[in-house]
Symmetry: C2
Subunit: 158 residues, 2 copies
DNA sequence: AATAACGATTACAATCCTGAACGGTTCACC
DNA sequence: GGTGAACCGTTCAGGATTGTAATCGTTATT
């Protein structure tokens, strides 16, 4: 009989801590933005459209790493609420260029505010210098792991 | 027209980085253990049983933060493969005490090995001293945020 | 002009989770 | 001691989400 009897409390590794904390942060953020009646997926799409307006759904789907069919429902839900517009491209009428409406733009602003509050809530136990250190470490891992900056990997196959 | 035009690349905050990296780490881990034909949820349950054997499903459900009905299927899938045993408690025949079989124990060992490899893969861009620093920062946040150590929050309402 | 390629959409099936209801068992209390 | 409440595990139906493949309209190719 080997020693085993590993306790549940000793964490199995930093990567697990990372995953657990990431899920926690994501869940908390989802709670916050629920007040605005948006889901994390919608938020990511709004952010992407705000960053590069006028793109086709195809391009956007590739950027986010999601099947195009999934974008349809997402865009629908935002378009129905008047936050996003599908503008047909006159020269190529297959394309739907996505743009934010005025309402959509102000919503993105609110989301960014909530994001900053969320950030503070999650990191409240760290001093500013420690926050900077953490951010730098995380950024290095993210780059090494090939994450596209500003895009949440959950669009891919989750 | 305000300045806006935030680029997608500048990350919206460390909490977002955390969430993105956590999702990435979780997805990669899921890929690894898929070779053993287990899901992350099953892995967490196996770990919990290994840490505190003989517990009832009710207690386990509360520890993991999941509705008991969700445990049933999880335990079923592991029991069908002979990794976990449900033992009726003779003094209180309502309870099902959960234990690992020999196969289950060796599987947990393999999962721990994979976990260490996974850890190295995620953190490969960091020196040992930096890994220690990161771990300490993450642990502090996790404690401050009230995460139960060793338990992945995704069992709760995801 | 015919056919292939392409963007967006729809249809469909598969998966997973939640919440309530259900049998079997034990406990509390009169 | 017997009756009803509480409890454990299970089951069941409903809802939400996602990926694959077929479909429709439009454009490019030859």
């Amino acid at each position: 009989m080997a020693a085993s009897a590993r306790r549940l409390e000793d964490p199995p590794g930093s990567a697990f801590l990372l995953a657990a904390l990431g899920a926690h942060a994501a869940a908390r953020f989802a709670e916050r933005i629920a007040a605005l009646d948006v889901t994390p997926a919608q938020t990511g799409l709004l952010r992407a459209i705000a960053a590069t307006p006028g793109q086709s759904q195809q391009v956007l789907a590739q950027l986010l790493g999601t099947p195009p069919s999934r974008l349809v429902g997402l865009v629908d839900s935002l378009a129905d609420r008047g936050l996003v517009e599908r503008r047909r491209n006159p020269t190529d009428r297959r394309l739907h260029a996505l743009h934010l409406t005025a309402d959509g733009a102000t919503l993105v602003e609110r989301i960014e505010t909530i994001g900053r509050e969320h950030d503070d809530a999650i990191l409240r136990s760290l001093k500013d210098s420690e926050r900077a250190r953490l951010r730098s470490l995380l950024a290095r891992i993210a780059e090494d792991q090939g994450l596209t900056p500003g895009v949440h990997p959950s669009y891919r196959r989750l």
